[in-house]
Amino acid sequence: MGKRKLTFEEALEQLETIAERIEQGKIGLEESINQYERGMALVKQCRDILAKAELKIERLQPRADGTVETTPFERTGEKDGES
Protein backbone atom coordinates (compact mmCIF):
# COMPACT_ATOMS: atom_id res chain seq x y z
CA MET A 1 0.00 0.00 0.00
CA GLY A 2 1.20 3.51 -0.72
CA LYS A 3 1.89 6.07 1.96
CA ARG A 4 -0.97 8.30 0.82
CA LYS A 5 -4.49 7.02 0.56
CA LEU A 6 -5.36 6.59 -3.08
CA THR A 7 -8.35 8.35 -4.52
CA PHE A 8 -11.02 6.21 -6.06
CA GLU A 9 -9.92 7.25 -9.53
CA GLU A 10 -6.26 6.47 -8.88
CA ALA A 11 -7.22 3.08 -7.47
CA LEU A 12 -9.24 2.31 -10.62
CA GLU A 13 -6.37 3.45 -12.81
CA GLN A 14 -3.99 1.13 -10.99
CA LEU A 15 -6.48 -1.71 -11.30
CA GLU A 16 -6.59 -1.19 -15.04
CA THR A 17 -2.80 -1.18 -15.25
CA ILE A 18 -2.57 -4.34 -13.18
CA ALA A 19 -5.20 -6.13 -15.27
CA GLU A 20 -3.40 -5.21 -18.48
CA ARG A 21 -0.04 -6.26 -17.07
CA ILE A 22 -1.31 -9.71 -16.11
CA GLU A 23 -3.25 -10.17 -19.35
CA GLN A 24 -0.26 -9.33 -21.50
CA GLY A 25 1.62 -12.17 -19.79
CA LYS A 26 4.93 -10.34 -19.85
CA ILE A 27 5.49 -10.83 -16.15
CA GLY A 28 6.18 -14.12 -14.41
CA LEU A 29 3.52 -16.11 -12.61
CA GLU A 30 4.85 -15.13 -9.22
CA GLU A 31 4.75 -11.43 -10.07
CA SER A 32 1.30 -11.96 -11.57
CA ILE A 33 0.09 -13.36 -8.29
CA ASN A 34 1.62 -10.42 -6.40
CA GLN A 35 -0.14 -8.06 -8.79
CA TYR A 36 -3.37 -10.00 -8.40
CA GLU A 37 -3.20 -9.61 -4.63
CA ARG A 38 -2.51 -5.90 -5.02
CA GLY A 39 -5.47 -5.64 -7.38
CA MET A 40 -7.76 -7.38 -4.89
CA ALA A 41 -6.59 -5.02 -2.15
CA LEU A 42 -7.43 -2.09 -4.42
CA VAL A 43 -10.89 -3.51 -5.13
CA LYS A 44 -11.46 -3.83 -1.40
CA GLN A 45 -10.31 -0.26 -0.88
CA CYS A 46 -12.73 0.94 -3.58
CA ARG A 47 -15.59 -1.04 -2.10
CA ASP A 48 -14.85 0.45 1.31
CA ILE A 49 -15.10 3.93 -0.19
CA LEU A 50 -18.42 3.06 -1.80
CA ALA A 51 -19.77 1.40 1.31
CA LYS A 52 -20.73 4.68 2.98
CA ALA A 53 -24.48 4.45 2.72
CA GLU A 54 -25.46 7.94 3.77
CA LEU A 55 -24.80 11.28 2.14
CA LYS A 56 -22.78 13.45 4.50
CA ILE A 57 -24.21 16.94 4.24
CA GLU A 58 -22.61 20.00 5.80
CA ARG A 59 -23.23 23.71 5.67
CA LEU A 60 -20.41 26.20 5.12
CA GLN A 61 -20.26 29.19 7.42
CA PRO A 62 -17.81 31.94 6.48
CA ARG A 63 -15.64 33.34 9.26
CA ALA A 64 -14.42 36.94 9.34
CA ASP A 65 -10.88 35.94 8.32
CA GLY A 66 -12.06 34.42 5.06
CA THR A 67 -11.88 30.82 6.26
CA VAL A 68 -14.98 28.71 6.69
CA GLU A 69 -16.39 26.38 9.28
CA THR A 70 -18.81 23.55 8.68
CA THR A 71 -21.93 22.79 10.62
CA PRO A 72 -24.40 19.99 10.04
CA PHE A 73 -26.94 20.90 7.42
CA GLU A 74 -30.57 20.48 8.33
CA ARG A 75 -32.73 19.64 5.42
CA THR A 76 -35.93 21.59 5.24
CA GLY A 77 -38.75 19.85 3.41
CA GLU A 78 -39.41 20.34 -0.22
CA LYS A 79 -40.77 23.84 0.01
CA ASP A 80 -39.69 26.15 -2.76
CA GLY A 81 -38.53 29.53 -1.53
CA GLU A 82 -37.58 30.83 -4.92
CA SER A 83 -40.48 30.97 -7.29
Binding site: I18, A19, L29, L50, L55, I57, E58, R59, T76, E82
Partner: protein, 523 residues
Protein backbone atom coordinates in the same frame (compact mmCIF):
# COMPACT_ATOMS: atom_id res chain seq x y z
CA UNK B 1 -41.29 63.24 -31.60
CA UNK B 2 -42.69 63.81 -28.18
CA UNK B 3 -45.69 61.86 -27.14
CA UNK B 4 -47.47 63.17 -24.18
CA UNK B 5 -49.18 60.12 -22.89
CA UNK B 6 -50.94 62.11 -20.21
CA UNK B 7 -54.50 61.81 -19.37
CA UNK B 8 -55.36 65.31 -20.61
CA UNK B 9 -53.98 66.78 -23.86
CA UNK B 10 -51.91 69.92 -23.69
CA UNK B 11 -54.09 73.04 -23.63
CA UNK B 12 -52.35 76.41 -23.48
CA UNK B 13 -55.57 77.99 -22.19
CA UNK B 14 -55.18 76.09 -19.03
CA UNK B 15 -52.02 78.00 -18.17
CA UNK B 16 -53.14 80.59 -15.78
CA UNK B 17 -50.55 83.17 -14.93
CA UNK B 18 -52.53 86.11 -13.67
CA UNK B 19 -49.85 87.02 -11.14
CA UNK B 20 -47.12 87.18 -13.75
CA UNK B 21 -49.28 89.27 -15.94
CA UNK B 22 -49.62 91.59 -13.09
CA UNK B 23 -45.87 91.41 -12.58
CA UNK B 24 -45.37 92.21 -16.26
CA UNK B 25 -47.84 95.11 -16.08
CA UNK B 26 -46.47 96.43 -12.89
CA UNK B 27 -42.71 96.14 -13.27
CA UNK B 28 -42.04 96.63 -16.97
CA UNK B 29 -39.10 94.53 -18.34
CA UNK B 30 -38.35 91.18 -16.71
CA UNK B 31 -35.03 89.72 -15.60
CA UNK B 32 -33.70 86.53 -17.25
CA UNK B 33 -34.44 84.66 -14.08
CA UNK B 34 -37.98 85.91 -14.04
CA UNK B 35 -38.51 84.73 -17.62
CA UNK B 36 -36.96 81.41 -16.81
CA UNK B 37 -39.24 80.97 -13.85
CA UNK B 38 -42.19 81.78 -16.05
CA UNK B 39 -41.10 79.26 -18.65
CA UNK B 40 -40.45 76.66 -15.98
CA UNK B 41 -43.83 77.17 -14.42
CA UNK B 42 -45.50 77.13 -17.82
CA UNK B 43 -43.85 73.95 -18.98
CA UNK B 44 -43.97 72.01 -15.75
CA UNK B 45 -47.60 72.80 -15.10
CA UNK B 46 -48.56 72.07 -18.68
CA UNK B 47 -46.78 68.70 -19.00
CA UNK B 48 -47.66 65.55 -17.10
CA UNK B 49 -44.97 64.44 -14.62
CA UNK B 50 -44.21 61.23 -16.53
CA UNK B 51 -43.54 61.03 -20.25
CA UNK B 52 -42.48 58.07 -22.37
CA UNK B 53 -40.22 59.26 -25.17
CA UNK B 54 -39.04 57.24 -28.15
CA UNK B 55 -35.80 58.31 -29.71
CA UNK B 56 -32.28 57.37 -30.75
CA UNK B 57 -29.45 57.85 -28.31
CA UNK B 58 -26.59 60.10 -29.38
CA UNK B 59 -23.73 61.80 -27.66
CA UNK B 60 -23.96 59.35 -24.73
CA UNK B 61 -21.66 60.34 -21.84
CA UNK B 62 -21.19 58.75 -18.46
CA UNK B 63 -19.70 61.30 -16.10
CA UNK B 64 -17.26 60.23 -13.41
CA UNK B 65 -19.85 61.27 -10.86
CA UNK B 66 -22.01 58.43 -12.17
CA UNK B 67 -24.58 60.72 -13.77
CA UNK B 68 -25.35 60.03 -17.38
CA UNK B 69 -25.94 62.63 -20.12
CA UNK B 70 -27.19 62.01 -23.64
CA UNK B 71 -29.37 63.36 -26.38
CA UNK B 72 -32.46 61.70 -27.76
CA UNK B 73 -33.15 62.54 -31.34
CA UNK B 74 -35.35 61.73 -34.22
CA UNK B 75 -35.29 63.03 -37.78
CA UNK B 76 -36.54 66.47 -36.85
CA UNK B 77 -35.60 67.25 -33.27
CA UNK B 78 -33.28 66.64 -30.36
CA UNK B 79 -34.01 66.39 -26.65
CA UNK B 80 -31.36 66.75 -23.94
CA UNK B 81 -31.55 63.99 -21.36
CA UNK B 82 -30.10 63.53 -17.90
CA UNK B 83 -30.08 60.33 -15.88
CA UNK B 84 -28.99 60.66 -12.29
CA UNK B 85 -26.55 58.24 -10.78
CA UNK B 86 -29.26 56.40 -8.82
CA UNK B 87 -31.28 55.73 -11.96
CA UNK B 88 -28.21 54.99 -14.10
CA UNK B 89 -27.04 52.31 -11.64
CA UNK B 90 -30.17 50.34 -12.37
CA UNK B 91 -29.44 50.17 -16.07
CA UNK B 92 -29.32 46.51 -17.04
CA UNK B 93 -27.90 47.08 -20.50
CA UNK B 94 -25.21 49.29 -21.85
CA UNK B 95 -26.76 52.32 -23.67
CA UNK B 96 -24.77 53.15 -26.79
CA UNK B 97 -25.11 55.79 -29.50
CA UNK B 98 -27.58 54.85 -32.21
CA UNK B 99 -29.61 52.58 -29.94
CA UNK B 100 -33.36 53.18 -30.17
CA UNK B 101 -34.82 53.47 -26.71
CA UNK B 102 -37.90 54.40 -24.74
CA UNK B 103 -36.97 56.89 -22.05
CA UNK B 104 -39.33 57.40 -19.15
CA UNK B 105 -39.14 60.58 -17.07
CA UNK B 106 -40.30 64.16 -16.72
CA UNK B 107 -39.37 67.34 -18.55
CA UNK B 108 -38.01 70.11 -16.37
CA UNK B 109 -36.25 73.36 -16.97
CA UNK B 110 -32.61 73.66 -16.03
CA UNK B 111 -32.64 77.25 -14.92
CA UNK B 112 -28.95 78.00 -15.00
CA UNK B 113 -28.64 77.08 -18.70
CA UNK B 114 -32.13 78.19 -19.61
CA UNK B 115 -32.71 74.80 -21.13
CA UNK B 116 -35.39 72.19 -20.79
CA UNK B 117 -34.29 68.60 -20.27
CA UNK B 118 -35.83 65.19 -19.93
CA UNK B 119 -34.88 63.76 -16.53
CA UNK B 120 -34.82 60.04 -17.37
CA UNK B 121 -35.80 57.69 -14.60
CA UNK B 122 -35.91 54.54 -16.69
CA UNK B 123 -34.40 53.69 -20.04
CA UNK B 124 -35.33 50.65 -22.06
CA UNK B 125 -34.26 49.46 -25.42
CA UNK B 126 -37.00 49.50 -28.02
CA UNK B 127 -38.11 46.22 -29.53
CA UNK B 128 -36.33 43.96 -27.03
CA UNK B 129 -36.50 43.94 -23.27
CA UNK B 130 -33.73 45.66 -21.38
CA UNK B 131 -32.63 42.42 -19.74
CA UNK B 132 -32.67 40.69 -23.05
CA UNK B 133 -30.46 43.37 -24.55
CA UNK B 134 -28.20 43.42 -21.52
CA UNK B 135 -27.85 39.67 -21.79
CA UNK B 136 -26.89 39.90 -25.45
CA UNK B 137 -24.45 42.70 -24.86
CA UNK B 138 -22.77 40.93 -21.98
CA UNK B 139 -22.62 37.70 -23.93
CA UNK B 140 -20.81 39.47 -26.75
CA UNK B 141 -18.39 41.13 -24.40
CA UNK B 142 -17.52 38.00 -22.40
CA UNK B 143 -17.34 35.89 -25.54
CA UNK B 144 -14.81 38.35 -26.94
CA UNK B 145 -12.77 37.92 -23.78
CA UNK B 146 -12.87 34.16 -24.24
CA UNK B 147 -14.81 33.27 -21.09
CA UNK B 148 -17.01 30.83 -22.98
CA UNK B 149 -14.12 29.30 -24.85
CA UNK B 150 -14.22 25.51 -25.01
CA UNK B 151 -10.53 25.28 -24.28
CA UNK B 152 -11.13 26.58 -20.75
CA UNK B 153 -13.68 23.90 -19.96
CA UNK B 154 -12.38 21.32 -17.53
CA UNK B 155 -13.58 17.73 -17.47
CA UNK B 156 -15.62 16.69 -14.44
CA UNK B 157 -14.10 14.11 -12.09
CA UNK B 158 -15.51 10.65 -12.77
CA UNK B 159 -15.73 9.71 -9.10
CA UNK B 160 -16.01 12.83 -6.94
CA UNK B 161 -15.74 12.52 -3.19
CA UNK B 162 -16.75 16.00 -2.05
CA UNK B 163 -19.18 18.26 -3.90
CA UNK B 164 -19.90 21.88 -3.02
CA UNK B 165 -23.34 23.35 -3.71
CA UNK B 166 -23.66 27.11 -4.13
CA UNK B 167 -27.38 27.72 -4.00
CA UNK B 168 -30.24 28.66 -1.73
CA UNK B 169 -30.36 26.29 1.26
CA UNK B 170 -34.15 26.31 1.21
CA UNK B 171 -34.87 26.16 -2.51
CA UNK B 172 -36.24 23.39 -4.66
CA UNK B 173 -32.85 23.12 -6.33
CA UNK B 174 -30.97 22.00 -3.24
CA UNK B 175 -33.66 19.44 -2.42
CA UNK B 176 -33.58 18.06 -5.98
CA UNK B 177 -29.81 17.84 -6.00
CA UNK B 178 -29.55 16.16 -2.60
CA UNK B 179 -32.26 13.67 -3.46
CA UNK B 180 -30.58 12.76 -6.73
CA UNK B 181 -27.12 12.42 -5.19
CA UNK B 182 -28.54 10.24 -2.46
CA UNK B 183 -30.30 8.00 -4.94
CA UNK B 184 -27.33 7.55 -7.26
CA UNK B 185 -24.15 7.78 -5.23
CA UNK B 186 -24.60 8.27 -1.48
CA UNK B 187 -20.95 7.63 -0.60
CA UNK B 188 -19.90 11.27 -0.96
CA UNK B 189 -19.82 14.39 1.17
CA UNK B 190 -21.79 17.49 0.20
CA UNK B 191 -20.91 21.01 1.33
CA UNK B 192 -23.62 23.61 1.00
CA UNK B 193 -22.56 27.24 0.80
CA UNK B 194 -25.91 28.96 1.32
CA UNK B 195 -26.53 32.08 -0.78
CA UNK B 196 -29.46 34.18 -1.86
CA UNK B 197 -30.14 33.49 -5.50
CA UNK B 198 -32.26 36.49 -6.39
CA UNK B 199 -32.68 40.12 -5.43
CA UNK B 200 -30.13 42.88 -4.90
CA UNK B 201 -26.69 41.71 -3.85
CA UNK B 202 -27.41 38.07 -4.69
CA UNK B 203 -24.93 38.04 -7.57
CA UNK B 204 -22.18 39.27 -5.27
CA UNK B 205 -23.09 36.61 -2.72
CA UNK B 206 -22.95 33.85 -5.33
CA UNK B 207 -19.60 35.08 -6.65
CA UNK B 208 -18.21 35.37 -3.12
CA UNK B 209 -19.34 31.83 -2.29
CA UNK B 210 -17.66 30.44 -5.41
CA UNK B 211 -14.43 32.19 -4.47
CA UNK B 212 -14.75 31.11 -0.83
CA UNK B 213 -15.09 27.42 -1.69
CA UNK B 214 -12.07 27.71 -3.99
CA UNK B 215 -9.92 29.42 -1.37
CA UNK B 216 -10.83 26.90 1.33
CA UNK B 217 -10.96 23.79 -0.84
CA UNK B 218 -7.85 22.22 0.69
CA UNK B 219 -8.83 22.82 4.30
CA UNK B 220 -12.22 21.39 3.49
CA UNK B 221 -10.52 18.15 2.60
CA UNK B 222 -10.51 18.69 -1.16
CA UNK B 223 -13.55 19.73 -3.13
CA UNK B 224 -13.56 18.14 -6.55
CA UNK B 225 -16.77 19.54 -8.01
CA UNK B 226 -19.11 22.51 -7.52
CA UNK B 227 -22.73 22.87 -8.53
CA UNK B 228 -23.93 26.46 -8.86
CA UNK B 229 -27.56 27.16 -9.53
CA UNK B 230 -31.15 27.58 -8.52
CA UNK B 231 -34.62 26.43 -9.51
CA UNK B 232 -36.78 27.95 -12.19
CA UNK B 233 -38.09 31.51 -12.24
CA UNK B 234 -38.65 34.56 -14.39
CA UNK B 235 -35.83 36.19 -16.32
CA UNK B 236 -35.58 38.74 -13.51
CA UNK B 237 -35.42 35.98 -10.89
CA UNK B 238 -32.57 34.30 -12.71
CA UNK B 239 -30.79 37.57 -13.35
CA UNK B 240 -28.06 37.13 -10.75
CA UNK B 241 -26.70 34.30 -12.88
CA UNK B 242 -26.30 36.71 -15.78
CA UNK B 243 -24.18 39.15 -13.82
CA UNK B 244 -20.60 39.65 -14.82
CA UNK B 245 -19.30 39.16 -11.28
CA UNK B 246 -20.76 35.63 -11.21
CA UNK B 247 -19.41 34.87 -14.67
CA UNK B 248 -15.92 35.96 -13.65
CA UNK B 249 -16.02 33.97 -10.39
CA UNK B 250 -17.02 30.84 -12.31
CA UNK B 251 -14.32 31.46 -14.89
CA UNK B 252 -11.67 31.89 -12.18
CA UNK B 253 -12.71 28.77 -10.26
CA UNK B 254 -10.05 26.06 -9.94
CA UNK B 255 -12.78 23.56 -9.11
CA UNK B 256 -14.83 22.33 -12.09
CA UNK B 257 -18.31 23.85 -12.03
CA UNK B 258 -21.63 22.47 -13.20
CA UNK B 259 -24.23 25.21 -13.64
CA UNK B 260 -27.87 24.42 -13.05
CA UNK B 261 -30.02 27.48 -13.44
CA UNK B 262 -33.80 27.29 -13.88
CA UNK B 263 -35.36 24.98 -16.41
CA UNK B 264 -34.25 23.47 -19.67
CA UNK B 265 -35.12 26.60 -21.68
CA UNK B 266 -33.30 29.06 -19.43
CA UNK B 267 -29.77 29.77 -20.51
CA UNK B 268 -27.79 32.18 -18.38
CA UNK B 269 -24.30 33.57 -18.71
CA UNK B 270 -23.31 31.38 -15.77
CA UNK B 271 -24.34 28.40 -17.92
CA UNK B 272 -22.12 29.59 -20.73
CA UNK B 273 -19.06 30.07 -18.55
CA UNK B 274 -19.48 26.92 -16.47
CA UNK B 275 -17.48 23.82 -17.40
CA UNK B 276 -20.70 21.90 -17.91
CA UNK B 277 -24.23 23.24 -18.18
CA UNK B 278 -27.00 21.12 -16.73
CA UNK B 279 -30.55 21.74 -17.86
CA UNK B 280 -31.90 21.46 -14.31
CA UNK B 281 -30.54 20.98 -10.79
CA UNK B 282 -31.53 17.30 -10.95
CA UNK B 283 -29.63 16.95 -14.21
CA UNK B 284 -26.63 18.63 -12.57
CA UNK B 285 -26.56 16.00 -9.84
CA UNK B 286 -26.84 13.27 -12.46
CA UNK B 287 -23.90 14.72 -14.35
CA UNK B 288 -21.90 15.07 -11.15
CA UNK B 289 -21.93 11.48 -9.93
CA UNK B 290 -22.07 7.99 -11.41
CA UNK B 291 -24.59 5.36 -10.31
CA UNK B 292 -23.22 3.36 -7.40
CA UNK B 293 -24.49 0.03 -8.73
CA UNK B 294 -22.64 0.59 -12.01
CA UNK B 295 -19.42 1.38 -10.19
CA UNK B 296 -19.75 -1.73 -8.05
CA UNK B 297 -20.43 -3.81 -11.15
CA UNK B 298 -17.28 -2.33 -12.68
CA UNK B 299 -15.28 -3.45 -9.66
CA UNK B 300 -16.76 -6.95 -9.92
CA UNK B 301 -15.70 -7.02 -13.54
CA UNK B 302 -12.14 -6.20 -12.49
CA UNK B 303 -12.16 -9.03 -9.94
CA UNK B 304 -13.28 -11.43 -12.66
CA UNK B 305 -10.75 -10.10 -15.13
CA UNK B 306 -7.84 -10.35 -12.71
CA UNK B 307 -8.78 -13.85 -11.61
CA UNK B 308 -9.14 -15.05 -15.18
CA UNK B 309 -5.84 -13.58 -16.24
CA UNK B 310 -3.94 -15.12 -13.35
CA UNK B 311 -5.63 -18.49 -13.81
CA UNK B 312 -4.86 -18.67 -17.50
CA UNK B 313 -1.27 -17.73 -16.87
CA UNK B 314 -0.99 -20.37 -14.15
CA UNK B 315 -2.38 -22.99 -16.54
CA UNK B 316 0.16 -21.98 -19.15
CA UNK B 317 3.01 -22.33 -16.67
CA UNK B 318 1.69 -25.70 -15.46
CA UNK B 319 1.62 -26.97 -19.05
CA UNK B 320 5.18 -25.85 -19.56
CA UNK B 321 6.35 -27.51 -16.37
CA UNK B 322 4.82 -30.85 -17.29
CA UNK B 323 6.38 -30.59 -20.77
CA UNK B 324 9.79 -30.10 -19.20
CA UNK B 325 9.25 -32.98 -16.79
CA UNK B 326 8.52 -35.30 -19.69
CA UNK B 327 12.03 -34.72 -21.03
CA UNK B 328 14.69 -37.39 -20.29
CA UNK B 329 16.97 -35.60 -17.80
CA UNK B 330 14.02 -35.43 -15.46
CA UNK B 331 12.81 -38.93 -16.08
CA UNK B 332 16.28 -40.46 -15.53
CA UNK B 333 18.03 -37.73 -13.67
CA UNK B 334 21.12 -39.82 -12.77
CA UNK B 335 21.87 -40.97 -16.32
CA UNK B 336 24.03 -38.00 -17.03
CA UNK B 337 25.84 -38.36 -13.75
CA UNK B 338 26.48 -42.03 -14.34
CA UNK B 339 27.88 -41.35 -17.76
CA UNK B 340 30.28 -38.80 -16.31
CA UNK B 341 31.25 -41.18 -13.50
CA UNK B 342 32.10 -43.83 -16.01
CA UNK B 343 34.35 -41.42 -17.83
CA UNK B 344 36.09 -40.58 -14.55
CA UNK B 345 36.63 -44.25 -13.79
CA UNK B 346 38.17 -44.78 -17.16
CA UNK B 347 40.45 -41.82 -16.80
CA UNK B 348 41.59 -42.87 -13.34
CA UNK B 349 42.29 -46.41 -14.57
CA UNK B 350 44.37 -45.01 -17.35
CA UNK B 351 46.26 -42.85 -14.95
CA UNK B 352 46.99 -45.78 -12.65
CA UNK B 353 48.19 -47.84 -15.55
CA UNK B 354 50.49 -45.21 -16.91
CA UNK B 355 51.86 -44.56 -13.45
CA UNK B 356 52.70 -48.17 -12.91
CA UNK B 357 54.25 -48.40 -16.31
CA UNK B 358 56.36 -45.37 -15.69
CA UNK B 359 57.47 -46.68 -12.34
CA UNK B 360 58.23 -50.02 -13.87
CA UNK B 361 60.30 -48.36 -16.57
CA UNK B 362 62.24 -46.43 -13.95
CA UNK B 363 62.85 -49.57 -11.93
CA UNK B 364 64.02 -51.35 -15.00
CA UNK B 365 66.44 -48.58 -15.82
CA UNK B 366 67.62 -48.63 -12.24
CA UNK B 367 68.14 -52.34 -12.43
CA UNK B 368 70.20 -51.76 -15.50
CA UNK B 369 72.27 -49.10 -13.88
CA UNK B 370 72.72 -50.86 -10.59
CA UNK B 371 75.45 -53.31 -11.59
CA UNK B 372 77.38 -50.53 -13.27
CA UNK B 373 77.15 -48.37 -10.25
CA UNK B 374 77.92 -51.20 -7.95
CA UNK B 375 81.02 -51.87 -9.95
CA UNK B 376 82.32 -48.38 -9.48
CA UNK B 377 80.75 -47.17 -6.21
CA UNK B 378 80.50 -48.31 -2.66
CA UNK B 379 77.31 -50.13 -1.85
CA UNK B 380 76.23 -47.76 0.88
CA UNK B 381 76.30 -44.81 -1.44
CA UNK B 382 74.41 -46.64 -4.01
CA UNK B 383 71.92 -47.86 -1.52
CA UNK B 384 71.29 -44.33 -0.32
CA UNK B 385 70.56 -43.22 -3.81
CA UNK B 386 68.33 -46.22 -4.33
CA UNK B 387 66.36 -45.33 -1.22
CA UNK B 388 66.04 -41.76 -2.41
CA UNK B 389 64.81 -43.01 -5.67
CA UNK B 390 62.27 -45.22 -4.02
CA UNK B 391 61.17 -42.26 -1.93
CA UNK B 392 60.75 -40.23 -5.04
CA UNK B 393 58.67 -42.98 -6.50
CA UNK B 394 56.55 -43.13 -3.41
CA UNK B 395 56.02 -39.39 -3.42
CA UNK B 396 55.08 -39.60 -7.03
CA UNK B 397 52.52 -42.27 -6.32
CA UNK B 398 51.20 -40.37 -3.35
CA UNK B 399 50.87 -37.13 -5.33
CA UNK B 400 49.07 -39.03 -8.01
CA UNK B 401 46.59 -40.60 -5.65
CA UNK B 402 46.02 -37.27 -3.84
CA UNK B 403 45.29 -35.64 -7.14
CA UNK B 404 42.99 -38.49 -7.96
CA UNK B 405 41.16 -38.12 -4.67
CA UNK B 406 40.84 -34.41 -5.36
CA UNK B 407 39.36 -35.08 -8.75
CA UNK B 408 36.96 -37.57 -7.28
CA UNK B 409 35.99 -35.14 -4.56
CA UNK B 410 35.33 -32.38 -7.06
CA UNK B 411 33.21 -34.77 -9.04
CA UNK B 412 31.37 -35.58 -5.82
CA UNK B 413 30.80 -31.85 -5.29
CA UNK B 414 29.56 -31.48 -8.82
CA UNK B 415 27.14 -34.29 -8.32
CA UNK B 416 25.83 -32.73 -5.14
CA UNK B 417 25.45 -29.37 -6.86
CA UNK B 418 23.72 -31.06 -9.68
CA UNK B 419 21.19 -32.34 -7.21
CA UNK B 420 20.72 -28.90 -5.77
CA UNK B 421 20.43 -26.73 -8.86
CA UNK B 422 18.30 -27.26 -11.91
CA UNK B 423 19.93 -30.15 -13.72
CA UNK B 424 19.25 -28.72 -17.14
CA UNK B 425 21.29 -25.64 -16.38
CA UNK B 426 24.03 -27.35 -14.37
CA UNK B 427 24.97 -30.14 -16.77
CA UNK B 428 26.82 -28.13 -19.38
CA UNK B 429 28.93 -26.37 -16.73
CA UNK B 430 29.63 -29.61 -14.95
CA UNK B 431 30.64 -31.41 -18.10
CA UNK B 432 32.90 -28.56 -19.11
CA UNK B 433 34.75 -28.65 -15.80
CA UNK B 434 35.10 -32.37 -15.98
CA UNK B 435 36.63 -32.14 -19.41
CA UNK B 436 39.06 -29.55 -18.25
CA UNK B 437 40.19 -31.68 -15.33
CA UNK B 438 40.48 -34.72 -17.58
CA UNK B 439 42.55 -32.75 -20.07
CA UNK B 440 44.81 -31.21 -17.46
CA UNK B 441 45.72 -34.35 -15.53
CA UNK B 442 47.82 -36.25 -18.10
CA UNK B 443 49.71 -33.07 -18.91
CA UNK B 444 50.54 -32.49 -15.27
CA UNK B 445 51.61 -36.04 -14.89
CA UNK B 446 53.90 -35.96 -17.89
CA UNK B 447 55.50 -32.81 -16.57
CA UNK B 448 56.14 -34.35 -13.18
CA UNK B 449 57.69 -37.48 -14.67
CA UNK B 450 60.07 -35.64 -16.94
CA UNK B 451 61.23 -33.60 -13.92
CA UNK B 452 62.10 -36.69 -11.98
CA UNK B 453 63.68 -38.37 -14.95
CA UNK B 454 66.01 -35.44 -15.33
CA UNK B 455 66.93 -35.50 -11.67
CA UNK B 456 67.67 -39.19 -11.84
CA UNK B 457 69.91 -38.69 -14.85
CA UNK B 458 71.89 -36.04 -13.01
CA UNK B 459 72.35 -38.26 -9.96
CA UNK B 460 73.67 -41.09 -12.03
CA UNK B 461 76.13 -38.84 -13.80
CA UNK B 462 77.46 -37.35 -10.61
CA UNK B 463 77.69 -40.77 -8.99
CA UNK B 464 79.84 -42.08 -11.83
CA UNK B 465 82.25 -39.20 -11.80
CA UNK B 466 82.72 -39.23 -8.07
CA UNK B 467 83.33 -42.96 -7.70
CA UNK B 468 86.08 -42.99 -10.30
CA UNK B 469 88.24 -40.47 -8.40
CA UNK B 470 87.63 -42.11 -5.05
CA UNK B 471 88.77 -45.40 -6.39
CA UNK B 472 92.10 -43.80 -7.39
CA UNK B 473 92.50 -42.44 -3.84
CA UNK B 474 92.33 -45.90 -2.44
CA UNK B 475 95.34 -47.03 -4.47
CA UNK B 476 93.84 -47.99 -7.76
CA UNK B 477 95.16 -46.58 -11.00
CA UNK B 478 94.06 -46.23 -14.55
CA UNK B 479 96.39 -47.01 -17.37
CA UNK B 480 95.94 -45.46 -20.76
CA UNK B 481 97.89 -45.68 -23.99
CA UNK B 482 100.02 -42.58 -24.52
CA UNK B 483 98.78 -42.20 -28.04
CA UNK B 484 95.05 -42.02 -28.14
CA UNK B 485 94.81 -42.20 -24.33
CA UNK B 486 92.71 -45.27 -24.51
CA UNK B 487 92.07 -47.04 -21.22
CA UNK B 488 94.01 -50.20 -21.24
CA UNK B 489 91.62 -53.01 -20.60
CA UNK B 490 93.40 -55.88 -22.38
CA UNK B 491 96.89 -57.05 -23.25
CA UNK B 492 95.72 -57.08 -26.78
CA UNK B 493 95.92 -53.30 -26.69
CA UNK B 494 99.67 -53.42 -25.81
CA UNK B 495 102.97 -54.40 -27.37
CA UNK B 496 106.53 -54.37 -26.21
CA UNK B 497 108.15 -51.00 -25.74
CA UNK B 498 104.95 -49.19 -26.00
CA UNK B 499 104.60 -46.09 -23.88
CA UNK B 500 101.75 -46.02 -21.45
CA UNK B 501 100.42 -43.38 -19.04
CA UNK B 502 99.23 -44.37 -15.57
CA UNK B 503 96.89 -42.12 -13.60
CA UNK B 504 96.97 -42.32 -9.79
CA UNK B 505 95.26 -40.19 -7.13
CA UNK B 506 97.69 -37.24 -7.21
CA UNK B 507 98.95 -37.30 -10.85
CA UNK B 508 100.21 -39.48 -13.62
CA UNK B 509 103.46 -41.02 -14.80
CA UNK B 510 104.71 -42.65 -17.94
CA UNK B 511 106.28 -46.07 -18.29
CA UNK B 512 107.25 -48.51 -20.99
CA UNK B 513 105.83 -51.93 -21.53
CA UNK B 514 108.33 -54.75 -20.96
CA UNK B 515 107.88 -58.37 -20.45
CA UNK B 516 104.39 -58.43 -21.89
CA UNK B 517 102.68 -61.52 -20.63
CA UNK B 518 99.14 -62.80 -20.27
CA UNK B 519 97.78 -62.23 -16.77
CA UNK B 520 94.63 -63.47 -15.17
CA UNK B 521 92.15 -60.65 -14.46
CA UNK B 522 91.28 -60.31 -10.90
CA UNK B 523 87.68 -60.41 -10.08
Amino acid sequence: MVCAMARQPFNPNLIQVPESEQLYARSGPLTVSQVTVLVKQAIESALPPTLHVIGEISNFKRHSSGHVYFTLKDRASELSCVMWRSAAAKLKFDPTDGLEVIATGGVEVFERAGRYQLYVRKLEPRGVGALELAFRQRCEKLAREGLFNEKHKRPLPAYPTRIALVTSPTGAAVADILRTLERRYPCIAVLIDPVRVQGPGSADEIAAAIRRVNVNRVSLGGVDLMIVGRGGGSLEDLWAFNEEVVARAIFASRIPIVSAVGHEVDVTIADLVADVRAATPTAAAELAVPVLADVLAGLDAYVLRLSRAVRSQAELVAARVSAVLRRSPFREPLNLVHRREQLVDELSNRMHRSLIELARARRHRLDELEPVVQRIAPHAHLLKRAVELRDAEHRLRWAMSTRLIEVERSIGRCVRRLDRVSPVNAFPRFADRLHRVADALPVAMRHRFSLHRERLRRHVERLGAMSYKSVLGRGFSITRTRRGRMVVRSLRQLEDRQRIVTEIADGEFQSEVVNLSQLELFD
